[in-house]
């Protein structure tokens, strides 16, 4: 059996969980093993309906006083661990999100079982062979794992979430796992709503990014101006945040924000792998750089060679002229 851990917000499964479930369905077809899902919290019962189109035969709902409240990582891991003990799946899948990784790691630690993060493909067997991302997906690793159950997170956006050809009407199976009191020592006690003013970097349709070539904090003014004209957001490379020129919230990269705009305009950025991991989701890339040998050019759709402090003011003026016509 394959068990997919599904994260949900008040009964609505998150996109990454549906990606994991889609991979689970593919593997279930390959192996002939049944696919089941687990949600935590009574509100998760509502998720069962939404999950039907993705094909699990059973949706387990872990319920109980503590589990019906706000997220508590170790307790969620304990609930998943209990489901694994009860059903002995060969494979457990989780979404490749922060929460997915956290819950899965708590379950793996509680069960003393191996966990493999950021998988893009899995061949169950003895041993189970996985293809997984390293360096934010810049390098792939083929690895093998031994154990009665292997816990795998599915790398974000490695699989496209797709409904099953024939939707199922899954059986909803509530259960009340015993969760030790100490597993609730850490729990979400407050939420701070996102700042909806301005365009968020992660969701922006256009991003104008700056790197070392911008030269300093003042140099970002022209990037802000261009981003403003295009209704986009400003981002930057790690060099820029490490120097304190811009806040870390604007960093695009492996350890910053992953962006997915229609257009990314990268200015004075050489293209270190740390940065490229963060902008891989961009549909189009326009590079402004003095250096024709900059590694980022290998990823570009369009390139302007030259000093960004000469190029961008000209682009801003030309965009203004075009919008005024």
């Amino acid at each position: 059996m394959i068990l997919a851990y599904v994260d949900h917000r008040d009964g609505a499964p998150d996109d990454a969980s549906l990606e994991a479930l889609t991979l689970g369905r593919t593997l279930a077809e390959r192996t002939g093993w049944p696919l089941e899902a687990l949600v935590v919290g009574r509100a998760g019962r509502a998720a069962a309906e939404a999950l039907g189109v993705h094909g699990p035969a059973v949706v387990h709902v872990a319920e109980g006083d503590g589990l019906d409240g706000p997220y508590a990582p170790q307790a969620w891991g304990a609930a998943l661990a209990e489901a694994v003990r009860a059903a002995s799946p060969k494979l457990v899948l989780s979404p490749g999100t922060d929460r997915g990784h956290e819950t899965l790691a708590h379950a793996a630690a509680a069960l003393d079982l191996p966990m493999v993060a950021n998988c893009v493909d899995i061949s169950p067997g003895e041993p189970t062979v996985v293809l997984r991302q390293r360096w934010g997906g810049t390098v792939l690793e083929e690895a093998e794992a031994d154990g009665p159950t292997i816990l795998c997170s599915v790398a974000l956006h490695a699989v496209q979430a797709q409904p099953a050809p024939a939707p199922a009407d899954p059986e909803v199976r509530p259960f009340a796992p015993p969760v030790p009191e100490e597993a609730f020592r850490v729990r979400v006690i407050d939420r701070v709503e996102p700042d909806r003013g301005g365009v968020s970097l992660a969701e922006a349709k256009v991003v104008v990014g700056g790197g070392r070539g911008v030269g300093g904090p003042e140099g970002f003014r022209v990037l802000e101006e261009l981003a403003g004209l295009l209704g986009g957001a400003v981002g930057c490379s790690r060099v820029v945040t490490s120097a304190g020129w811009r806040p870390h919230a604007e960093q695009i990269g492996q350890t910053g924000t992953r962006i997915a705009p229609d257009l990314y305009i990268a200015c004075g950025i050489s293209g270190a792998t740390q940065h490229m991991v963060g902008c891989r989701g961009a549909k189009r890339l326009l590079v402004v750089n003095e250096d024709p040998e900059a590694p980022i050019i290998a990823h570009a759709d369009w390139v302007v060679l030259g000093d960004l402090h000469e190029v961008l003011p000209a682009v801003v003026a030309a965009v203004r002229a075009a919008t005024q016509d």
Partner: protein, 254 residues
Amino acid sequence: MLVCVKRVPTTGGKITLTPDEQEIDTRFSGWTVSPHEECAVEGAVRIVEAHGGTSTVLTLGPAAAEEQLRDALAVGVNDAVLLETDGSEWDPEETARAIAGAVAGLEADRGPFDLLLFGNEAADTADHQVGIRVAHALGRPCVAGAKALELRDGTAVVRREAPDGGWEVVEAPLPAVLTVKEGINLPRYPSVPGRIRAKKKEIHRVAPERTGGRVRKRRLVLPPERKEQAEILGHGPEAAPKVVEVLRSLGLVR
């Protein structure tokens, strides 16, 4: 405070692999500490500056990882522990067991650490589990992904990214384990006196017991590269009209 770091290759614009497909080719690059862990080191130093006490940095790695320990000593960490290996890769389970064992040993000598700090995930392997496994082995609470930290009356108050944007606040009673993300602070650069002090410090070496892992690397593979060449729109400000054409083709400019 105990802060755990990992030595990883410095990656520039292009990653190449060794001919045996086992490692990243580091002949022309150096080594560093994973970015999240640089911030964990800075966090440990700041907590000691604000609340007193001492900080220790620990790594599991080859003898050469002494370099990363000295980097942490240079920015103000008090002492360093090297769990020395032959340089081959340890899987996350055996790594966590070795670290938990070393922590227990250190604590038997000098009393419990209030906080164990880790990076949320290492830059290279991104296993997302070593800190959490250590917390379980030691029976301590764990908060992953910390992007802001405050210590209040024996409690760590942590802010971290919520799944749908914004922040969530979580608390953990000390002693606790925290995994940190870059952005929690801006790490300082080492001073020259700091570097000199770091050079002279003795590194406490421990031979960790290898208990065996269940996840084994077979080989590394580079994903296929794209073939299309970029279109050069022009040189300098003269390229502006071409840029506007591109923006227009994407519907961004009328």
